[in-house]
């Protein structure tokens, strides 16, 4: 979920673009299947963390573009700060 929200911070994206952005942002470590990715998107949408920005029809198939909401932005930034603080416990120079 973290990488999905991180991917959506820049601009609204559709499913395939989110999938590629997640892979890129995580350095290839996170590659959710399409079923998993859409499960995450539906849950984030239900909680109001993301919402559908617009719909397009490409090659006869509907394509939803998702965008992050203000709540979602605050949530992912809080999570980033939490992880930064946790990482600092280990990575800061040891007091001599």
């Amino acid at each position: 979920m973290y990488f999905v929200l991180a991917a959506l911070r820049a601009e609204p994206l559709h499913g395939h673009a989110i999938s590629k952005a997640v892979k890129e942002l995580s350095g290839g470590r996170v590659q959710p299947s399409v079923g998993t990715l859409y499960g995450i998107l539906e849950r984030l949408n239900e909680r109001g963390v993301i919402q559908v920005d617009r719909e397009e029809v490409v090659n006869g198939r509907n394509r939803r573009y998702f965008r992050i909401t203000d709540d979602g932005r605050a949530l992912v930034e809080a999570e980033a700060r939490r992880m930064q603080a946790a990482a600092a416990l280990v990575l800061r120079p040891a007091a001599s």
Partner: protein, 310 residues
């Protein structure tokens, strides 16, 4: 061609879907119909775009993701409306299916009462609680009468011998109170649901497939002298149903399936209490499994979120 706006997909020219598309469409059947209708093509689009060129068989990861995602979506889709009313209807359905399963092997000797019981289950499955009530009441009176050796409605030669699926006489190992408990739970549940004066949802036709499996007394695995022989096929059906209920409670963080499991377990426990002095370790182990699954279902919705985005 690209169009913008929240519009319906444009009709595409007729074309032959590739083998990969056909296989992904079959996997998408795991999702509930409304979700498939709204977003099936969207998922298919992403799946085909993500696929390696020349691939004709879905990647294992994608296939598993669709199956798990579909089941999860079905569970979430079910967890709507009043949890207690839906859980009660589910419990009534399960106990009514068990009541019919008890009569099914005797359909040849009870040609009126077994179809009546099947009609009662059918009415419950279709959400027709008012129609189900008299059918359940009539069948219940006859069932309790057979268990007690009474003849209030019509003459029936006792004991009632099975025609298939079993080799024990009807209610040979049940007392009238234990039989009455199953019907009383269904009747009470139907009354409560009818008093709400709100539409009752329909249930899956898969419940009809559960009945013969629960009715079958085989395969033999317990000693012939056992007072309360447990049917292996029925145990498999009940364990699977209780396991699914626990998984659904976990996924949806909702109690409706736990309520149904709890009510069914109470009814099923009646027979174990009746034979308390004759229970073997197998009986206690099986009852323990059902109890653990029910408790698991009851506590699963309280599971902690691992982090704020979970």
């Amino acid at each position: 061609m690209t169009t913008t706006g929240p519009s319906r997909p444009a009709a595409s020219p007729a074309r032959t879907p590739s083998a990969l598309e056909r296989r992904y469409r079959r996997l998408l059947l795991a999702y509930p119909r409304p979700y498939r209708a709204a977003h099936g093509d969207e998922l298919l689009d992403v799946l085909l775009e993500s696929a390696d060129p020349g691939r004709t068989v879905p990647a294992l990861k994608e296939a598993w993701g669709l199956l798990v995602g579909g089941v999860r979506s079905r569970v979430i889709h079910q967890a709507r409306g009043s949890a207690w009313a839906d859980g009660l209807h589910l419990a009534v359905t399960a106990v009514a299916a068990a009541n019919l399963a008890a009569l099914l092997p005797y359909a040849g000797t009870l040609p009126l009462w077994t179809p009546l019981s099947a009609l009662a289950l059918l009415a419950i499955l279709r959400g027709r609680v008012l129609a189900a009530f008299p059918l359940t009441l009539l069948t219940g009176v006859k069932a309790v009468a057979i268990a007690g050796g009474w003849q209030p409605l019509d003459l029936t030669l006792l004991p009632v011998h099975p025609t298939f699926l079993s080799d024990l006489p009807l209610y040979g190992d049940s007392s009238p109170p234990a039989v009455a408990a199953g019907y009383a739970v269904v009747l009470t549940g139907l009354l409560v649901l009818a008093s709400r004066r709100q539409p009752v949802p329909t249930r899956s036709w898969w419940w009809c497939a559960v009945v013969p499996a629960a009715a079958w007394a085989g395969p033999d695995w317990m000693a012939e002298s056992t007072a309360l022989p447990l049917s292996l096929s029925r145990m498999a059906v009940e364990t699977a149903a209780f396991g699914l209920a626990a998984a659904a409670c976990y996924l949806a963080r909702d109690h409706r399936w736990a309520l149904a499991s709890g009510v069914y377990l109470l009814v099923a426990s009646g027979r174990f209490i009746e034979f308390a002095d004759h229970l073997t370790r197998q009986h206690l182990a099986y009852w323990g499994v059902l109890l653990v699954l029910t408790l698991g279902a009851a506590f699963a919705p309280f599971r902690q979120r691992r982090h704020c985005l979970d």
